[in-house]
Point group: C2
């Protein structure tokens, strides 16, 4: 089958940066939170090599925000996640698994604490707003919950600090990981965090007000010409190598945070009031029986992973692959799987039933990080 065309409509929302993305020659999109997310510019491999060497500007406006504002904002934020938020200060970002009453993953966003009574939740691909609004309503909390006009733009890659300093001043490079500050751009304050969906380092600019989108885009492109800046996007190869999970791909509501290897973000004893705590206390005690693992799949490049691929030990199904792609740097297929505890020891050899046939695969102790 040839590559399918995406039929556009208002329902698949454009972003404040779409004009720049199109001008840069975007070749493929995915849809994320009902919004366009670029997937390829040059080729996935060329984008990957460039990301690891230079600096890219990413339209990740699809990381929509859920804003909590009001006296009960902090209480609500803690109800949403098993991570203990008592030590979280304004200016910090926390990666927070969000679970339902059974401990099933609803989203794996980054929470941004603007003030004691104000948070943004920078969401992965599910309408978390609906969950949060109904929780606030059902529990009669004194808090406003809404989607503000905020569109993140990421600057990622080893030259990200150099580029950002030129546009926002050297102060931005003093930001520590998962901290944010406010920086001026053409007279408007921008929240900038050291964060982003790659292992190459960089920043996310939370643009308030879509009207400034293209000015921001163009300022970054102009300032970085000699740094070889170009448009980019989350790169499938780089994220699988680095073990960056994708909600909807590697985990769904079927999974607990512990299964996803996110147990370290679950403080089920101290996260008082968290929905799903009872269910997760049990999991935390026993441990999960299956867990996310880095895997290497042998043979030539695998086809696109559009469905779960069974992972077998002989005739017994012991897991599944949820993301897989050929890695030029590691010269093997890198993959994210979930494997039962009987077979999750690093070095275990298993069989993956890929669409083009069975392949040998090896469970790894860590992701592929250079």
């Amino acid at each position: 089958m040839t590559a399918p065309i995406l039929a556009t409509s208002r329902r698949l929302r454009r972003t404040p940066f779409s004009a720049g993305v199109e001008r840069a020659g975007v070749k493929a999109y995915t849809i994320y939170n009902h919004m366009l997310l670029p997937c390829v510019f040059d080729s996935m491999e060329a984008d990957y090599h460039h990301l690891k060497r230079h600096v890219q500007v990413w339209d990740v406006a699809c990381e929509r925000q859920v804003e909590l504002r009001g006296p009960d904002a902090g209480r609500l934020m803690q109800m949403l996640t098993p991570r203990d938020l008592r030590g979280m200060l304004p200016g910090q970002c926390y990666y927070v698994p969000i679970v339902d009453e059974t401990g099933g993953m609803l989203n794996d966003p980054v929470a941004v604490k603007l003030a004691e009574d104000r948070f943004w939740i920078s969401i992965a691909d599910s309408d978390l707003l609906y969950w949060v609004k109904a929780v606030a309503h059902g529990w009669r909390l004194d808090v406003l919950v809404d989607e503000p006009d905020v569109s993140p733009l990421a600057v990622q890659g080893p030259k990200a600090d150099a580029l950002m300093a030129r546009v926002f001043g050297a102060g931005v490079t003093t930001l520590r990981f998962f901290r944010f500050g406010w920086f001026d751009f053409q007279g408007r304050d921008m929240l900038i965090a050291r964060s982003g969906y790659s292992r190459q380092g960089g920043f996310e600019i939370y643009l308030e007000g879509g009207d400034m989108g293209m000015a921001l885009w163009e300022a970054l492109m102009a300032a970085g010409a000699d740094l070889e800046v170009r448009a980019g996007c989350p790169n499938l190869i780089e994220r699988i190598e680095g073990g960056l999970l994708s909600y909807g791909n590697d985990m769904t509501r079927e999974n607990t945070p512990h299964e996803c290897g996110l147990g370290r973000f679950c403080n089920t004893h101290s996260a008082i009031g968290c929905i799903g705590r009872d269910a997760l206390l049990r999991v935390a005690q026993e441990g999960p029986v299956r867990q996310i693992r880095s895997m290497a799949i042998e043979g030539g490049p695998v086809p696109a992973c559009e469905d779960l691929w069974p992972v077998m030990a002989g005739s017994e199904r012991v897991g599944r692959i949820s993301s897989a792609v050929w890695s030029p740097d590691f010269q093997t297929n890198v993959a994210i799987g979930m494997v039962r505890m009987t077979h999750w020891t690093p070095g275990t050899e298993l069989t993956v039933e890929a669409p083009d046939g069975a392949r040998r695969a090896v469970v790894r102790g860590e992701f592929f990080i250079q």
Copy 2:
């Protein structure tokens, strides 16, 4: 810009009918409830003419179900919608606007009443499951809420009755509009309703268990060869002509049901317990100040409507177009807009700021129905 490619992944879920859709030569997809929804097979115009003359089989598995089951299922269902459900009987389908506490539209699904204590909500494009689960949790209702393995397949077009009778027996043709019954297919009971997202008539088969997907697809194709059955999908031209609204395109959380012309589905005085009732009582009393209208836009075929187009009366903005396309049968551009009450009288001439320039447009009293 050339048509963008869709990058596939597990997150954009395939359906039990995807193999059939691909074999039929699908040319474009959209994403709907995190799932593939075909958009074009031959061409949008050819698909449209065929739909109006023959019969098509549509993969609308993306109409995911939210199942409510348990003693409080009926109470929860009424909390979700301002439509009075007291008269709803098992075997009936109701179109139900779902609103948040401010009366803003969250979804516009069809509710299917299986039993006094069991409903399916066949949803439009938003994660209504998250809202419903949190409402049930927050109000401590005695009900299970989940997404079952149910994938609707639609059979639409003037020859739908003929085709369905061949596969399910003549009894299926006695179904009245928005009623359902249970019919045997290869030993499995299938819920079949007379419903569907076109004005051409037809049915929706709620397939339980994805494993039977291709058997059902192939049985319909084989039985209808001489009826010129073929794969189809919701058709943009036909739905705009017929005034079938699309959540995310023609309405969002910004809009009340009354603005969307759905006031007749709101019984704010008798729908006791409905979330958002207080907000909607006010709207029901005063009436909305803007409302969905059918519009004709003059000139040649309009470009794809990917954003709201302003509707102007002189220099005053009085509305917006949310869906528009050239209609071969009506030889004009048919459109769905929302217009302020000062300018919504049928026959009012306005200006639409389309991406390719200003165009004259006329407000209509009804949609385009032959």
